[in-house]
Every structure is written in structure tokens, then in C-alpha cells.
């Protein structure tokens, strides 16, 4: 292990001396993260909309919907919810885009619920399908919570048209399923990282590949400049050469991500979550990046080729993994494909950390898959690199 540390120290000294690691792994991602967060102010990072509600029931069941269910949306900062007195006024606001959806509570809802009669809550949506979906989801959850009640949730576009048969059928099916009476707002409790944190994390996971690659690149460079022959002639085991390169890549990756986390926290107020949870996530991300860098570099014949390949892989995985376009806005196929990238799992882990209640168990999938990616690709890369240590 002493020899591996000696080799790692040599690599780190060279990379710090030529400043390449600092430029590519720290300064560039930090600059980009700062630029993105300045260009896109943090206040707009969270989704926000406005709903209007017309309570024609004015009784206690409707009050649960208005105060508890829709109130929780307002409390979570997802939507402002304003009560209006008439349906026409509400639809008018939707048509003029002053509200993204109008929720119409029928007169007699409480009585219908208590007597087991069917009732219908109408949701009129505007041009924003996401807003309509949020309103519909919240009201449907309420409907499910009112167990055993034939409560229909109807949705329509602005103008007040009636729901089609399929919608009614789906709503009835949903309403027919008994559920707990207490309205759960768990679905609304899932938080996302704010903008500063997202871009800090996105740049960190994208550029960590440029840091970890220096370990694997050193092996390619040693072959090119001839120093590998000295290693092979020296009384040292082959694994110490590989371990030295891996240690150097790991340290560079760790420092790069650590600096970014600290810098975006201090400079931009990013919230990376509790350090005790963040550190394992970062360690796993560095392992994944190291594995992929090792595999990619083992294919290359020259350092230049290895650097180019690593850049292509890093940027491609970043694009696929939601660094540039959030996976939630990507087509379904792309969203599925994103799950093969370490970027997706790291960003998902950072989102998880945005919740105050997050635990290490919540991070389990992210950390586990990141480590698995690193172990698989790294093992293949090291086997290939090891074979190159001795010319046959």
C-alpha cells in the first residue's frame, strides 16, 4: 500500500502543478453553477401556480377539501388557493390564465357523502396540464379518502364542458376504492432541491468525471512516455500501480465534489442536506465516476484519446441523466434510459436530501446503484488495465 500511496502522491503533485484538475474539476463547474443560479433566480425554482375554488356546499365535508387538502398545497408553496363565489367567475379566471384550475364543489356535497349518494366535484383546467394534474390529484386523493362514497371527480377544459365517459368511469373506479378517512398529504410532501443546489449538484456530478479521469489517464500517460517500463521493472506488485492511480482519481473526485458543495452552500445558499448523509452520497458518486473513467481510459491508446473519450462519455451521460434537462420533463423513454446513468441517481439522492426527514435508508437506492455502477465498470476497466501492465 505504501507504493500505491507514493504513486498517488506523484499523480496528485503533477495534476496540481499543471492546474488541469483545478480548472476542469473545480473552477469550471463552480463557475457554471454560479452562472446558472444567477441567470435563473432561486424563487422560480419551485413549481408554483394558482387555483380558485367555488364552495357551493359550504358544509364540513367541503371544508375538509378546501382547508385541509387544498390548504396543504398552499402551505407547501405549490399553489395559491383562492375562494370565489361563483362558477362563472372561476371559469373566467381560468380562461384569462389568472388561475390554472378551478375546483367546483357542488351544493349538497356533505349531505350526499353522509347519505351515501353520488356527488361530483368538477375541476376546470386551463392551458397548463401539469397544474390541472396537480389539482385533479389532490381532489382524487380526497375522494378516495372519503371511503365508500360515490364521489365523482370530473375534469374539463376551460369553458365548463362535461367530462367524457372514460373520465367519469375512471373517477368512479377511483372513488369506489375505500381508503382511510384522513386525507393524506404525503404525496405533496416530496420536495425537490432548490435551483442553487440542483445546479451545484448537476455540475458536480458532470465534472467529477473530469477529476477522476486523471487517475486512469496517468496509466495511459505512463505507457506513452515510457515510465511504465520502469514500474514493470521495479520490485513492486502490479496492483499497487493500479491502486495508486485509483487513489489519485478518488482523491481528486472527492475534493472536486466537496469544494463544489461547500462553495455553493457558502456563495449561493445551496442546501445539500445533512453532511452525514451527503458524504456517503458523494463517496458513492465518486466511485461511480472512477469506475466509468477507468473503463473508458482502458480502451484508449493515448492520453489525448482517453481525455477525449472521457469528455464524450461524461457529457453524454450528463445529458441523458438530467443535468441539462430535468428527467421529469423528458419523454418517457428518455426518463427510463436516464436511470442507467450515475447522474440520475446522484441528483435523485440530492433531491431526497432536500427533505428534512430524509434518512440514510432513503438514500439507499441512490447510493447502492452508484456503487454498483462504479464496481461493475471499474472492475472491467481494472482487468483491462491490468492486462496492459504486462506485454504478452
Amino acid at each position: 500500500m505504501r507504493i500505491a500511496l507514493v504513486i498517488a502522491a506523484r499523480i496528485l503533485r503533477q495534476r496540481l502543478r499543471d492546474r488541469s484538475a483545478i480548472i476542469f474539476a473545480v473552477l469550471t463547474p463552480l463557475g457554471l453553477a454560479l452562472a446558472f443560479s444567477i441567470l435563473i433566480p432561486n424563487e422560480f425554482s419551485a413549481f408554483h401556480t394558482r387555483f380558485v375554488v367555488v364552495d357551493n356546499d359550504r358544509d364540513h365535508v367541503a371544508a375538509i377539501l378546501v382547508d385541509d387538502v387544498l390548504g396543504s398545497l398552499a402551505e407547501a408553496g405549490v399553489a395559491d388557493v383562492d375562494a370565489l363565489s361563483s362558477e362563472s367567475e372561476a371559469i373566467s379566471e381560468v380562461e384569462s390564465d389568472q388561475a390554472s384550475a378551478a375546483i367546483i364543489i357542488p351544493a349538497g356535497l356533505t349531505a350526499a357523502v353522509e347519505s351515501g349518494q353520488p356527488a361530483e366535484i368538477r375541476i376546470v383546467g386551463g392551458e397548463f396540464p401539469l397544474s390541472l394534474e396537480i389539482a385533479r390529484s389532490a381532489v382524487e386523493r380526497f375522494a378516495q379518502a372519503v371511503g365508500g362514497v360515490q364521489l365523482m371527480v370530473a375534469t374539463a377544459v376551460a369553458g365548463g364542458s362535461m367530462p367524457d365517459a372514460a373520465t367519469i368511469s375512471a373517477a368512479q373506479a377511483a372513488a369506489g376504492e375505500p381508503g382511510p378517512i384522513a386525507v393524506s398529504t404525503a404525496a405533496l410532501d416530496r420536495r425537490q432541491a432548490d435551483l442553487a443546489t440542483f445546479y451545484g449538484a448537476a455540475m458536480a456530478i458532470m465534472f467529477v468525471f473530469f477529476a477522476t479521469q486523471y487517475g486512469a489517464l496517468s496509466l495511459v500517460a505512463d505507457r506513452e512516455v515510457g515510465t511504465m517500463s520502469r514500474y514493470l521493472a521495479a520490485p513492486i506488485p502490479g496492483w499497487s500501480i493500479l491502486a495508486g492511480a485509483s487513489i489519485a482519481g478518488f482523491v481528486l473526485g472527492l475534493v472536486a465534489m466537496g469544494v463544489l458543495a461547500i462553495a455553493t452552500t457558502v456563495l449561493q445558499g445551496a442546501d445539500w442536506g445533512p453532511p452525514a448523509l451527503l458524504v456517503p452520497l458523494i463517496l458513492a458518486a465518486v466511485v461511480a465516476a472512477m469506475g466509468i473513467s477507468t473503463l473508458v481510459s482502458s480502451i484508449a491508446r493515448t492520453p489525448q484519446q482517453a481525455g477525449g473519450l472521457n469528455a464524450i462519455v461524461a457529457l453524454s451521460l450528463a445529458a441523458l441523466g438530467g443535468v441539462f434537462i430535468p428527467v421529469s420533463q423528458a419523454p418517457e423513454g428518455l426518463a427510463v434510459a436516464a436511470q442507467v446513468t450515475p447522474h440520475y441517481w446522484f441528483l435523485r439522492g440530492v433531491d431526497t436530501l432536500a427533505s428534512d426527514a430524509a434518512t440514510l435508508a432513503d438514500l439507499g437506492p441512490s447510493i447502492g446503484i452508484l456503487l454498483a455502477i462504479g464496481a461493475l465498470t471499474g472492475a472491467i476497466g481494472l482487468v483491462r488495465a491490468r492486462a496492459a501492465l504486462t506485454v504478452r
Binding site: 507504493i3 507514493v6 506523484r10 503533485r13 503533477q14 502543478r17 499543471d18 512516455v225 515510457g226 515510465t227 517500463s229 520502469r230 514500474y231 514493470l232 521493472a233 521495479a234 520490485p235 513492486i236 506488485p237 502490479g238 504486462t390 506485454v391 504478452r392
Partner: protein
Amino acid sequence: MSAAASAPNPRAEADDAPASPPAAGVVGAPTLVCTGLVKRFGDRLAVDGVGFEIARGETYGLLGPNGAGKTTSISMICGLLVRDGGDVVVDGKPIQPGTTAAKAAIGYVPQDLAIYPDLTARENLTFFGQLYGLGGRSLAARVAELLEVIGLADRAKDRTEQFSGGMKRRLNIAIGLLHRPRLLVLDEPTVGVDPQSRNAILSSVQELGREGMAILYTTHYMEEAERLCDRVGIIDEGRIRAEGTRRELVELVGQRDRIALAAGGDLQAAANVARALPGVHGATVREGGLDLLVTNGRTMLPQLLQALSGDGLAIRSVEVIEPDLEAVFLHLTGKALRD
């Protein structure tokens, strides 16, 4: 030890005698024993049964043209290459690519520069010294000592990318000496080096030999082999064609001299004419002239010049060279060493 002190025991490929034993004056078991080394690259047989021994304090030269198998042989001896056959024992311990401790007895100086250009001379020496288990004050002292020896003490803190070719070569050799190896393996260490640095390198190698280090030195420069080596193995096409001291090898040629002609015209036709003459044992074309191996060159010269001039060759200069290793190589292989 000196070449003159060696026991005359030339071994030409034609006879089946075993490899020459360690030269006279050498005490104890050989530092290097390699036997029957074989290496194939695909269908090509790069090294075919190479074997020799080197005793403590002896400098052994592998002399051959580029592509003869020198570097491949050295790579197998140092454990860089997996060999297809043969054995290597250094200081009593077998060498394989996977072995570690036994390699500590070898100091390897590769043909190509193997130093980090973005590290200083001192950092390069210190780093490679650590690979050999050196450390602390003893390493610092050894590094300082070697920097003095190679004349780079005042440039110790400069990055090697700022060094001249000769300075880099000297540093390249010094790295191989850091751990005071029993066997120093130098693979064409003077290629691309200016005359002054080359002379300094050769003097250093001579000094190391006098200090008792066993040295394996490959070169395609006949003068280097003649100056440095107690014994020489002439290698061509992966096989050792002959082995012995310089005097022993030259005796293989007999009274044959080498005549170097600088000439213009149809050199290939002239070579064919020369080969047909009695007393001419070999003729090879090189750039700008011919190399001929003849019996009693000075006596033969008028007849030779007449025949070649009559064939239309424009002769510019003639040099008659007493038998040397170049002549030996020509005699053994039918071609010039530089081919």
C-alpha cells in the same frame, strides 16, 4: 577486469559449445544467467534461443542492428515481457514478470527516456527511489550523490522538460542506479546523445564496471561495444551469432580487412562484381558506398578498384579498416551492422 584478462573462448553459432563461462578474474556465481530465451510476436520469432551469462564486474555487450532482438531480450530479462521460453536468473533468483523481490537486483535503463517532464530532477529521482523501497535521509543522500555524479546538482530543482537531451539521458541512467543494483541493464543509452554527453555516459559505465557492477549493455554502435565491453554477444535476427571478447571475435574473421568505399553509380551491380572477385568474402551496399570484407585488404586493393572502376563505379574515397566488430558482424551475417 579487462578484455585482455578474459579467457579466450569465442563461441560462434556454428559450434555447439555451451555459452562462455564468466570471464577470468571474476569471482563467484554469475550475476545474470539467461538461457534459451524465446519470444514470438504472432508468427514472427523475435528472439530465438538467446542465452548468456554475466559475472560480477563484467560488462557484456549485445551488439546488433535495429530489430535484431536486443530490446526484446532485455525486456524478458528485466521481467517486462512474458517470455515464450527460457529462464532468467539474477543474483540467484529467477525472474518472471510477476516476481517482485528478485527485480530489486536489477537497475533498468530503458532505451526511450522514462522520466516525468513535469517533475524536477530531484523529484524524479526521489519518486523512482521510493519504488525501490528507499526513503528518508538515505534516499535524500543518494539522490544528492547521483545529482552530483551526473552533473545536475545545480539543476536539481528544474523541471526536466527544460533539460537538454544529454541531461535527460544522464538522469535516465541515474534513475537506474538509485538502488545500487547488482545488475545494470542499459538499452542503447546513447541514442540521440551529443558527443560530449555520450563520452560522459560511456566513462560512467566504465567506472561502474570497475566498481564491480555487472552490466548488460546493448548497442548498435561498434565503437561503444569495443570500448566498454569485456565480452560481446553479436545478435542478429533474434539469435546470438557469436560471443566472446573483442580479440576472440576478431579472430573469427582471420586476416580479413574491411574496405569502406564512398562511391556513386550502380552500387548493387558493383557489389555483385566485387563478390565475384577472389578474396572478397562479403559486399554490402550502404548509403553512398559499399562495405567489403576482403583477405589482405591492402594487397587486394588495386585489383579491387580496377574491377569496380571498370564496371562504371565512381569511387570518391577508400578506407582500409583492420578487423573490428563491424567486420565480424559482416563476416557472420553477410551484412553491415547499420543495416
